[in-house]
Each structure stands twice: as C-alpha cells, then as structure tokens.
C-alpha cells in the first residue's frame, strides 16, 4: 500500500465514534457568527448542539442577500449537525441542563432572561459558559459598549488588522486601511471560543465544575498573533500598510508571472539563493544589499530588489516556476535540507474547486436541497479514532457519498 492509501484507510470514517458524543451544547448566538462558528466546531466533533433562535435575523445575513430556502449562506454553512429550534419556555429548561452554553447575545441579555451563567450555574455547577461578544462581559469598556452589536469588520478594525493591509502608495480611498477578504476576526474568535470550551471541559473532568469563558472578538486576532504587543513595545511606532511586502520576510507575497500569479516565499537565505538560481539572477547574490540582509526594515532597498524580481519573474509561466522550485537535487539526503523557494499558484475560486486534491480529501461536501447541488466546506480536521464529520445541514440528513 502506498503512504496515501495507508493514511486514507487510517482516517476512514467508517462507524467510528465522535469525540464529544456525551456533550450537549446550547448555542444562543443571534447574529454573532463567531458564536455560531464555535457551535459548529463542537457539532462537527459530535456534540449535540441545539441552536436557539429568537428570530430570523441571523438567517438573513448573506453575501448580497443570497438565499437557499429562505436561509443565508453563513447560517446554512454553520447549521452543520445542529438542531435548529425557536426560543420558548420549554427550551429554557433544556438550556439549563446543557454542558456548554454559547452566548453570542448582547452581554447581560441572557442573564435578564434568567438563562445567564448566574442562574444556570446555580442549578448546574458543571456548566461551561462561553460568552462571545465585541468587548467581553466584564471591564469598564464592555459595560460602556454593551449596546454596540458585533460584526466581523468592526472586530477586524479594533484588532488593528486593516491598518496593516493594503498599499499606502495608492491614492484616495485605495490607500485606506483595508479589510481582510474573509470573516477573519469572527473565524478566529469562533475557534478561540471552541478551544476555550474544550479546555474547560477537560478541566471539568477533574474538578467536576464548570466556569465562565469570555471571548472578545475585538481582541481575537491581536491576542493570538501578538504583533501589536511586540511592535508597540519595541518601536513605539505603529506599522503602516506595507503593500505586497511583509514585515519580517522577503520575498513573502504574491507576484505576477507570465500567465498568472504565484505565491512566493523564501523564508531563509538558502531558499532565497535557490530562487536566484531558478530565475537565473545569480548576479544579484554577491550584492551586499541582498545576499544576507533581506530584512524588510528598509523599504527603499527592498523595493529595488522587488523591482528586479518582478521583472524577472514575468519571464516564466506559473508551471515553469512551480516545477523548478520542486525539482529535487541529486544527492537525496542532502537535497532535503538545501534551500528551495516555496512557489505555488495563486488560485482563483474556480481553480481551487477544480483541483482533484480536495475530492481525494473530501474537503467539500455536497448539499442538495431541491435537486440543486451546493458545495459546502467540510470539517478541516482528519482524525483516526474520532473523525469529525458533517451529518446534517439545516437539520436535514445528508446522503452518504
């Protein structure tokens, strides 16, 4: 058997158990999709997740209002494995008995309904209560901004993210801080919340007790990547937008080539030298400015090198560059530890979808309401004993492929 075959057998879903089949979750997240994402992750891993809605507002949120059976795309995607119910008095009792509560509502709202941590933990001390909100459920700021609803874009902004995206050399609004093209802050906050829930559940096995876990979407990125802390301390001066460059590594970005775009990274000097060889610009190597010190602290210097690279790379096709970067050197053992630039094709969405790789890995699943096929991203994790998987979407069981 090839390595691929062995692994596919190992990761086969078969009838394996889920990791969280003994866990019951109530997701009361309203329009806060970071909360819904947290619920989705727990649901993918087998927790019984009841999504409780007060109204249909969350269902209406969708790119340009696109709908599937009256339901927006984020709601559709995040409905995975969940039981979808409307809030009523009966469900209150069920919420009270859950192992995990995901509260994505306005801070204090569930408390005022009698289903906040204060009330639930009294009857159910093992409850793990995950609060997801812009500024958290404590601190002066949280209190002051309690009435301001959450959104991914505002969360990105308060994380300091758009300030470093985009090209400062462009004019007018094109030089403004620029948002990340996906729900970057909500996705990160959602995973953070799910990880927080798991830590609390593991701890609960020892202590028998639950606790309050507080996630602030407006800090979810900065607390993870830590760069504002480091830059603030070392430089006392913020980074600005840096166009297509990077603050640490060079080159590390997207380049236009003869017939498209590539992602290019040379994390180390041997990698950079290998790149120079590939594009036949070995003449740049002895240049003291570039040979060792490619630290991107001097935009003028980096720009000069960038111009050279840009010019040179356009002589080659994507295919040529990818092939050259992966060509193995002759000495097998040594080759493995020699430098090589990382070069891959910059995919458009349809190119991504056409790549057979995702089919082999089952990275996308198909949902067929009314005979129309809709592709939905599958769980991103493969596990040999407790494979996470999607069984239903919008409450409907999926057909087994």
């Amino acid at each position: 058997m090839s390595r691929d075959e062995i692994l596919m057998k190992l990761f086969a879903e078969d009838n394996k158990p889920f990791a969280l089949e003994d866990i019951k979750v109530a997701e009361i997240a309203g329009e806060n999709f970071a909360g819904a994402i947290a619920g989705s992750l727990l649901a993918e891993f087998g927790a019984k997740v009841i999504r409780v809605d007060f109204d249909d507002e969350a269902k209406k949120i969708s790119p340009y209002g696109a709908e599937v059976n009256g339901c927006g795309i984020p709601y559709l995607v995040e409905s995975r494995n969940k039981e979808l119910v409307k809030f009523d008095e009966k469900i209150k009792k069920e919420i009270m008995s859950c192992d995990v509560i995901i509260d994505g509502m306005k801070p204090g709202e569930l408390d005022s309904l009698g289903i906040g941590y204060r009330q639930i933990s009294e009857r159910n001390p093992g409850v793990v209560y995950i609060a997801v909100s812009p500024y958290g459920h404590f601190t002066q700021k949280a209190r002051e901004f309690a009435n301001v609803p959450d959104s991914d874009l505002t969360a990105q902004a308060y994380n300091g993210y758009p300030s470093i995206i985009g090209n400062p050399y462009l004019t007018e609004k094109y030089s403004y801080p620029l948002k990340a093209g996906m729900w970057a802050a909500w996705a990160m906050a959602g995973i953070n919340a799910a990880v927080g829930a798991m830590i609390a559940l593991i701890e609960r096995k020892k202590s028998g007790k639950g606790q309050f876990v507080d996630v602030a979407t407006h800090d979810a990125l900065a607390v993870i990547h830590a760069f504002p802390t480091i830059v603030g301390f070392l430089f006392d001066k913020p980074r600005t937008r840096y166009g297509t460059l990077d603050f640490i590594l060079y080159p590390f970005g997207y380049y236009r080539v003869k017939d498209g775009y590539i992602a290019l990274a040379t994390p180390t000097d041997p990698d950079f030298r290998a790149l120079l060889k590939i594009i036949k610009r070995w003449d740049l190597e002895p240049d003291w400015r570039y040979s060792l010190d490619r630290i991107s602290d001097d935009p003028v210097k980096i720009k000069a090198l960038d111009d050279e690279l840009n010019k040179e790379l356009q002589k080659y096709t994507v295919k040529e560059l990818v092939a050259k970067a992966r060509k193995k050197s002759k000495g097998k053992l040594i080759g493995r530890f020699l430098g090589a630039p990382v070069i891959v094709k910059l995919n458009k969405l349809q190119e991504l979808l056409k790549d057979p790789h995702w089919k082999v890995r089952n990275s996308l699943i198909s949902f067929n309401p009314d005979g129309k096929e809709i592709l939905i991203p599958n769980t991103a994790v493969k596990m040999s004993e407790t494979p996470p998987r999607i069984i239903k979407i919008l409450g409907r069981e999926l057909k087994k492929s």
Partner: protein, 438 residues
C-alpha cells in the same frame, strides 16, 4: 441583585481559582515557524508541559525572524512569545542517538506535534507509525500545508502559499487594482493552528474516556477553505464574490470611512434593526433591497459623507446610543496601549528571569476559574537540555555530559535570537544547570 457586569467581573477577580486545566499533559514538539509552534504555546498557556526539540546551533529558523530585524536583549520577541512557557532541547533528529532521546521523550508524552512537509517526519524516523509504536496512547498531530495525503500533499507550504492556494488571497484588495494582499501576521498559520489545538483537546478528551490515542491531520489550506462562504455562494449563483475592497458583502452599508478628525472608523450593518438605528441619524439613508450589490455602493456613499462630518468620538456615541456596529480602526500602538486589553490581561507585563521586564500577550481567552498565563518567553537553544533529561528521563549529570561530548545534544550558537543575553552567567542559573524548574 448585583448588576450583570459587576457580577461577571467578580467571577474573574474574586471567584474560585483551581489548578491549571492542562497540568500533567506532556507535549513534545518538532516544529518550526508558526503553524506547529503555536499549538504548544496555547497548550502551555493552560498548564501543559511542552518540550520543543530543535537542532543544536541555530535552533529553528524562526528564531531569526524578528520584526524589521529588531532584537531585544539578544532575543527575538516574535519567537519568544510564540514559544512562551516551553522547555527547549537541542538534539538533531537526523542523528540516531538523538533520535533515541526523542523517542524516550515521546514515550512519556501525551501529545506529539510536528509541522514538516508531509512525509518528512516519517523519513526522519519520527512519524506517527514510528512514535505510536513506542507509545500507542499518543495523540500525534501532523500540521502541513495541504494535508498528509492527496495529490498536493507533498508540496511545500507557508502561510502565504496556503492563502494563495485556498483562493483567499484573491479576495483581499480592490477590484480596480491588480494587486493581491495577504492577510498579514501569518493568519494562514495562526487560524489553522487553533484548529489543531481544538482537535488535540478533543483527542485528549476522547483518550480520557477510552485510553486510546490517535493520529490527526490538519492542513492550513483546508482550515482556511472551511471559512470561505464564497464556495456555496458560487454553487448557488454561479458567481465569484472576489475582491470587495472594504465592503463586507454580508453587511450593508459597510466599510471603513474617514471621520471629520481624520481618523478611520469601521461600520458594518448586519441587520434591519441596525439599519434603522443608523438611518435614524444619517439623512437620506433609506432601505429597499439594501443587500443588492449596487445598492451597497449607493448607501456607502451616503454614509461616507455623513462620517466625514462627524468626529470618531461622535460616531461611537451614536453607535452606543442607537445600537449599530462601529469601531475605530486601531494601529499597533493603539492596540498595545489600550487599557481595556491590559485590564482583560490579554496583554501583561512579566518579569522574565533572563530578559527582564517585557510585555507579552496573555491567555488567548479569559477563563474565570482557571486563567491561563504567560510565565516566561522562549529560552536559548538547548537551554533546558539538562532539566528535561533529568526530569523526564531521570538521567544523571554524567550521562548528560557524555551526550554533550558526543554532540548528541547541543546548545546555541552566538547569533541573536539563539543565544542568552550578554550578561547572563551560566554558573548562576540553576534552571540551566537542571537543578530547578522555571
């Protein structure tokens, strides 16, 4: 009844505190750069004992990746925070005797993390098959660009590459301008790494019930693709969302606007209720298919003009009073100096034994009974050789000395990022000597 915010605050400030939740969990990592190392960092914030194995001399190469080349006390804070609370061993996995040590450590570990390109850990003799043979209860996780199997699996990856293949990179930027911007600060590493932590904790939870370990495969690209709502949108409409500048296509109006006092504010209207709230102060803002593409542009122009007439503070007051999403666009220094973050302890100052007083990021979430923390930042290459070989493997000073003489284990070379601070004295450091824990 105490008001809600005071009640929650009392839970965090005065509530019962218990032992670190992951105390007793032992992690061994053979990792480099960001994707792999962040897994151990997060687990260590909550009490796991994480041993990182590096090659002697330069250690892993991210040690040299300092922002704008700036070091501090001969350490790199980027690497330092990325690898906080860990123990550092330097043993070259290509050396057979060093591999024995790695195996001995792995035998005693609960979790093993690697992030080489798919198949390389196997070739080095420390893959899942090899490690699970000596420790069947191990939770072994492989982090890679495209996963452990499949046609793309052998391709090398990096944050920027994964974002490119995932078709995420073509989504950030302006339609009119032919440039693509990556999501900065290694989003393509950090997001997937949190996915890994989630999977590892699930595996540990399962192991607690059944005693069984397992193998986990997480790819950067799939973790990013997981959040591309563009995919179902495309199958539904036949259209790509593509680049949308500062518009969130799920929110209308939405964008980043310049205020009267030349600051930037982000506004994103997600619901009808929020729209009505904003429309109550913005003249001319009328609904009617507000989610239509052209309509978003039209509404944004009205908001843009309104924002330009108000200061940032005024707009935030409106947002608080009326209830619509609006936040200032902060920069690095504003984030760093934000009193709210210090109060939440997502940024804290620590007194590091080697590097002195430095600010670091705290735990990634606030937990009322078992708060996480950052105790120390990364140590020089091989700094904990003696401590860990004694503590985990029960080795004697003589045995360790022999390994040093045979170059099985080693220490730093004198590069910044790898070496101790200049004034550090090895003889006066009991942790380095393996006599005392951090």
């Amino acid at each position: 009844m105490t008001d809600y915010f005071s009640y929650v605050e009392s839970l965090f400030k005065e509530g019962e505190k218990r032992e670190p939740p992951l105390k007793g969990i032992r992690v061994v990592e053979l990792t480099h750069f960001v994707f792999g190392p962040n897994v151990g960092r997060i687990l260590a914030q909550f009490g796991a004992e994480v041993v990182k194995i590096e090659t002697p001399g330069e250690g892993e190469r991210y040690r040299l990746a300092a922002v704008f080349g700036r070091y501090y006390n001969r350490t790199n804070l980027v690497y330092g925070i990325q690898n906080a609370n860990k123990y550092f061993i330097a043993a070259d996995a290509r050396n057979a005797k060093a591999r024995e040590i790695i195996f001995e450590l792995a035998k005693r570990a609960d979790v093993f993390v690697e992030n080489f390109r798919a198949g390389l850990a196997d070739a080095m003799g420390v893959g899942y098959a090899q490690i699970s043979k000596v420790n069947p209860k191990i939770v072994y996780v492989s982090c890679s660009g495209f996963g452990q199997y499949g046609p793309l699996s052998k391709a090398p990856s990096f944050d920027v590459a994964a974002q490119g293949v995932a078709s995420l990179a073509v989504k950030t930027g302006w339609k009119e301008i032919e440039e693509f911007y990556k999501l900065p600060d290694y989003f393509g590493d950090y997001l997937p790494s949190m996915m890994v932590v989630f999977a590892v904790l699930n595996a540990l939870y399962h192991r607690e019930k059944t005693g069984k370990g397992q193998y986990i495969d997480v790819s950067q690209t799939e973790s990013l693709v997981r959040f591309l709502y563009d995919i179902p949108y495309f199958s539904l409409t036949g259209q790509e969302i593509g680049k949308t500048g500062n518009i969130d296509p799920c929110a209308s109006p939405s964008g980043i606007f310049k205020t009267a006092d030349e600051k930037f504010v982000a506004i994103a209207i997600m619901t009808e209720k929020q729209f009505k709230a904003l429309a109550s102060v913005v003249e001319g803002l009328k609904d009617g298919e507000r989610m239509r593409k052209e309509k978003i542009d039209e509404l944004n122009q009205i908001v843009e003009k309104w924002v330009a007439k108000h200061t940032l503070a005024e707009i935030l007051e409106f947002a608080k009073k009326l209830g619509f999403p609006a936040s200032p666009v902060l920069n690095d220094v504003e984030v760093f100096k934000d009193p709210w973050r210090w109060e939440r302890k997502s940024i804290v100052k620590i007194l590091d034994r080697l590097y002195g007083e430095i600010p670091v990021t705290g735990a990634f979430v606030a937990m009322s009974a078992t708060p996480g923390n950052t105790k120390w930042i990364a140590r020089p290459v091989g700094y904990h050789n003696r401590l860990i070989l004694k503590k985990w493997l029960g080795m004697s000073d003589e045995q360790i000395k022999k390994l040093e003489e045979e170059d099985v284990i080693g220490y730093w070379d004198e590069q910044p990022g790898c070496a101790p601070p200049p004034i550090w004295e090895p003889d006066k450091d009991p942790v380095f000597k393996g006599e005392k824990d951090e």
